[in-house]
């Protein structure tokens, strides 16, 4: 789907289409709407209600492109559209069934009509299922629209109950052509650890969408809870400021103050760890949101926005080396901390015999770290575990895998090594190669467990999971310097363009620079959410739905 070509103009309709429009107006399009079917990917097709497989009226063929006559609903294949047109006077315009696109049988060419596309798109939006928690009133949505900033040009007040109305808002005050939501954060005294993580959170698509669609309403929150300390409220304020269109650097002072109150032990101007800060913020959001409402799914999953976005499940299998009995535990996680796969490491199988590696093991890669994380680890003889089968303490092998992937995957590289034995800490500066696109399939429990049994085919609970395994990176928090004195910088990837967020300074950078940087915490989001978010960036419509911004083709 196009993201809005600035030089897009409405092509002139051929005389047959113009004729059709004159005679029938929009009635044909409207009645066709009932037959539109949209896939989650956003592709619309035309489906006749009682047939799975449409066939050409003339030759009964079902292959190739099929065209649906707008006037009499006859289906013709590409060889017979002319035949239909010749036998029926005036039946010139048809619709390509697979693509829901207009076709003129006389000109033998595709034709375009914005009214038709509008008919397709409004059906597209209605097709997306409503979120069950739709307790947002229209009034509140209206308030949020106004709050998005006076820098935004608003059209006349639209009746939001008419879901077909779409308002496109463009930030006309922006001096640069940077996408909306890019704003520097001033350093308030060694707070780059906070700024770097905030930038990543501001652009985590589901997290961003929640706050920008008024998921946490400050007025409601103030009325509901006596406790004035509310991290989500302060985050909401940051979102409003950053997405307001104002490009001057913003000082998240209120948020810093709140966070200090929340995590009093870290309340100082000393340098902190960005990952620790990230965990603490998620904690703060969870605490507040779970107080406000009893948000829990039936299976006990927390529905606060922090967990909804970042929470996944890890599976830990411990196998007794004597009898083979495996005990499994699941643990929730909001991130995965990975050890670096360093040069010293060489792949070994259970018997501790080194396997010859034909890969160049001198480069550390993220996939290598993930392999390391999910490798079968022989627990030391001082770590014997009780085997339920043998009823004795036995040598065991432990293997981690990912049972359920989150929407946003946060990968933390353990670069800070604290050795209690030697009582010293050091930072591992080793460069880590990381991909922009990540497929997590090999690290899922289903893959790991299957491999353990020699790739046998058997059904695995969780196989039918509807979360995809493909992720795209959208933020990298990098660290430079030493353990005591260093600096965090975040690189953001918006619409495949990388931006360096160095406290108050935002600059466009080349992807080579990002690849060469020293990654510390990486944020990956599910591929579909990444692509949806990219389409939202250039053209932010007001959605009648609460949660997601919806991609609209050709609306600019």
């Amino acid at each position: 789907m196009s993201t809005g070509n600035p030089s897009y103009t409405n092509p002139k309709p051929c005389k047959h289409l113009a004729d059709y429009k004159l005679r029938h107006g929009l009635t044909g399009y409207r009645s066709l709407q009932k037959l539109f079917k949209t896939t989650p990917n956003g592709r619309t097709s035309v489906e006749k209600p009682n047939t799975t497989m449409p066939r050409c009226n003339s030759c009964n063929g079902f292959q190739g492109r099929l065209y649906f006559c707008l006037i009499c609903s006859t289906v013709s294949c590409s060889d017979h559209t002319l035949l239909h047109n010749q036998s029926e006077n005036g039946h010139d315009v048809a619709v390509d069934m697979e693509r829901a696109e207009l076709y003129c049988c006389v000109c033998c060419d595709q034709v375009y009509d914005p009214d038709f596309d509008k008919a397709v798109m409004s059906k597209h939006i209605m097709g997306i299922p409503r979120d069950k928690n739709g307790d947002e009133s229209i009034g509140e949505r209206l308030v949020k629209r106004r709050r998005l900033g006076s820098g935004v040009v608003e059209e006349e007040l639209v009746d939001l109950s008419k879901s077909k109305q779409l308002v496109s808002m463009r930030d006309r005050r922006a001096k640069s052509c940077y996408p909306l939501g890019l704003r520097g954060l001033t350093n308030l005294g060694s707070t780059c650890f906070m700024n770097s993580v905030l930038q990543a959170l501001l652009h985590a698509p589901p997290f961003r969408n929640y706050f920008l669609s008024d998921g946490h309403n400050r007025e409601t929150c103030r009325k509901r809870s006596v406790d004035r300390l509310c991290l989500p409220c302060d985050i909401d304020a940051i979102f409003s400021a950053v997405f307001s269109g104002d490009r001057a650097p913003y000082s998240p002072a209120q948020f810093l103050y709140s966070w200090w109150q929340y995590s009093a032990n870290l309340a100082n101007y000393e340098q902190q760890d960005a990952h620790e800060f990230f965990i603490s913020v998620l904690d703060g959001i969870h605490e507040k949101e779970s107080k406000l409402s009893n948000r829990n799914r039936d299976n006990g999953d927390c529905l606060c926005i922090a967990h909804k976005v970042f929470s996944g499940q890890l599976r830990s299998d411990v196998t007794c080396m004597t009898c083979g009995f495996t005990s499994t535990t699941d643990e929730p996680c909001v991130d995965i901390s990975l050890d670096l796969d360093t040069n010293n490491f060489s792949p070994k199988n259970i018997a501790n015999k080194p396997i010859k590696s034909n890969e160049n093991s001198s480069i550390s890669t993220l996939l290598g770290c993930l392999d390391l994380f999910t490798r079968q680890e022989k627990l030391g003889s001082d770590q014997k575990l009780h085997c339920r089968n043998c009823q004795e303490m036995r040598d065991s092998v432990k293997q981690m895998s990912i049972k359920r992937l989150p929407l946003v995957l946060c990968l933390h590289i353990k670069r800070f090594e604290h050795s209690p034995v030697r009582r010293m800490s050091r930072k591992i500066d080793r460069h880590l190669h990381f991909p922009f696109s990540l497929d997590m399939t090999p690290y899922l429990s289903s893959s790991i467990v299957r491999n353990r049994f020699g790739n046998r085919i058997f059904a695995f609970e969780g196989d039918e999971s509807d979360i995809s395994t493909e992720f795209e990176i959208f933020a990298v928090v990098t660290h430079s310097g030493t353990l005591e004195s260093g600096h965090y910088v975040t690189y953001l990837r918006l619409s495949d363009q990388w931006y360096k967020c160095d406290d108050a300074w935002i600059t466009e950078v080349d992807e080579g620079l990002v690849r060469a940087s020293q990654c510390y915490v990486m944020f990956y989001v599910q591929k579909m959410l990444y692509h949806k978010a990219n389409e939202d960036l250039s053209c932010l419509p007001i959605s009648p739905r609460r949660d997601t911004f919806l991609p609209i083709a050709g609306c600019c």
Partner: protein, 111 residues
């Protein structure tokens, strides 16, 4: 003579109702009904984008349109010209992957 707007289509000749569905038709129906066709199409789209095939086709289309003149090109022309080139340049790995998916599907759908 004017035709009425929503006249139902002329019914197809009766003899086609006894027509035995070919294997191809059966497979196609099963693929569509189970939703597998949609998934296969998505997979194919992805693979063809990844390997640069789509961009190649795009530039072929552009070259053709430039040569013939932008206003003298129809979709049908493009489809006719590009299809043989497109079919020929699909990478073997993509073909193999899809074949395998289809075979797996056929096995599971017990055809």
């Amino acid at each position: 003579m004017r035709n009425s707007i929503n006249r139902p289509p002329t019914p197809v000749a009766e003899e086609d109702q006894d027509h035995q569905p070919t294997l191809q038709e059966i497979i196609n129906i099963k693929l569509i009904e189970s939703g597998e066709k949609e998934r296969l199409k998505e997979l194919l789209r992805e693979r063809l984008i990844e390997c640069g095939w789509r961009d190649e086709m795009k530039s072929l289309c552009r070259a053709f349109a430039r040569k013939k003149g932008r206003n003298n090109v129809t979709v049908d022309d493009l489809v006719q010209v590009i299809t043989p080139k497109g079919r020929a340049s699909v990478p073997d790995s993509v073909k193999a992957e899809l074949l395998q998916r289809i075979q797996t599907f056929l096995a599971s759908a017990s055809i």
